[in-house]
Amino acid sequence: MTFDLVDRAAIAGIGYTEFSKNSGVSTLTLALRAIKAALDDAGLDPDLVDGVGTHRVGDSVPTPVVAQALGITDPRWFTDHFGGGGSSHSVVGQAALAVASGAADYVVCYRAINSRSEFRMGGTGRAPVEAIETQYQAPYGYVAPPQQYAMVAQAYMHRYGVTERHLGAVAMTERKYAALNDRAMMRAPFTYEDYLASRWVAEPFRLLDCCLETDAAIAVLVCRAEAARDLKKPPVLIRAAAWGGGQMLFSNRQPEPGTSLAARMAPRLFRSAGLTPADVDLAMLYDCFTVAVPLQLEDYGFCAKGEGGEFVLSGATAPGGKLPVNTHGGFLSEGYVHGWNHIAEAVGQLRGEAGARQVPGARIALSTGAPGYVGGVTSALLLRRDT
């Protein structure tokens, strides 16, 4: 069966809260602020919202609480998925299916986290999230995403000759973009020597290989494309959405850890969009850690396997490069909102609102969720400017 979602749904509004290390407010308050900002961005009457979606790992407010707080008395559609960054783009993809099918008209999707001040990933300050692999790993002192991705990175780097020079280039490139972004939490440029001098977290990762744990919320409004054209901002069309999974990091019928779940999902994402990687003007690649950028450049087909590090080092992903990547500074320098600031940045770029970091003539953007090593799922969106 063909999967015909092409351009039927749109992102009509985006909303941010401030990014901080301590919001001082609940995740409910964060969610409501971001949602209200997204509705104001679109110019939509909140009474018309009839769907709510999010994903969580036991760290945020559920959708019924948000819906009630917003005065949505009869939500026609919801999704409240258990999952981390691999699920981020899935929520927006599912909302697109919902509005395209008529299950809902106006869906607000959000992620609201106090991931620095309250619920840090990986057990620092709280018990680890329940997962089937925990019993096999925690007794060995292995629980946190930096450790899990470091394990992937070591095998990947060994196999393909990727080095700290390449990982450092990812971190430095993203910081160059952050210097052009008022919202970014870390804006001061640094040198390769600074990168090498930053403290070890879990070898082969230094501090500057790791994303910024952040308190923030982001919301997006999804509706049918023709409905979006009646709202305040130019619609950003959802050209395609894709979902992938079926493996876990530690046992998965895949003997090669240097290739992610995205390698199997990306061809169907592009096929259902009628596009190829060469059509993409800019990419927001889930960068929980530096290594995820070269890995996904390869697995989404922008370069051959093993060449992602050289691709970054060549400047291809930097400002003015042939494929600008993470133009907001990414999770490494703007802040970490679990995939959602990638979606919001892609929308801002396609609307021509990115200011000093605007990619000239941006028409097609790829935005990706976590590539699936932790949690066993991934998801991504291809977005397109309407005109």
């Binding site: 019993q135 096999y136 007794p139 002192g141 292995y142 060994h158 977290v201 070898e203 046992s251 850890p257």
Partner: protein, 132 residues
């Protein structure tokens, strides 16, 4: 330190942890097609048979990756840091990979290194000893 996380067996994994306490690496194996299952679970992901037996594996494997943790994500491991964790691919089947530690904190990890399971007591866990 005594407050390190202990194994938390569930209804599927209890025989695995009993094996380790007895000094054996016991794994589930499909009684129909012979594929090894990891972690323990009801169905074979090759032939979809529910039939399985618990078999003592060779305990031999290869280090496919390793990390050295400096930041104590678990506070009870703070005194160990920096410490090495390895990912070991078992000789039996190339998609079975166990997270563990080397037998001696002074050992340097290396990808491709062949290792053999050894067993600790209190807590009962696997550690990996490099072999020639």
């Amino acid at each position: 330190m005594t407050d390190k996380p202990l194994p938390q067996p569930d209804r599927d994994s209890a025989p695995y942890w009993e094996g380790i306490a007895a000094g054996e690496l016991r794994l589930q194996r499909c009684a129909d097609c012979g594929a090894w299952r990891w972690p323990a679970r009801a169905i074979c992901n090759r032939c979809r048979s529910f039939a399985a037996e618990w078999v003592t594996a060779s305990g031999l494997g290869t280090v496919v990756s390793w990390i050295r943790t400096h930041q104590p994500f678990i506070r009870s491991f703070a005194d160990d840091a920096p410490y090495v964790t390895v990912e070991v691919q078992l000789a039996e089947q190339n998609d079975i990979r166990l997270i563990g530690r080397l037998a001696d904190p002074g050992l340097e990890p290396e990808i491709g290194q062949r290792v053999r399971a050894e067993f600790t007591r209190d807590p009962a866990l696997i550690v990996w000893r490099p072999i020639g």
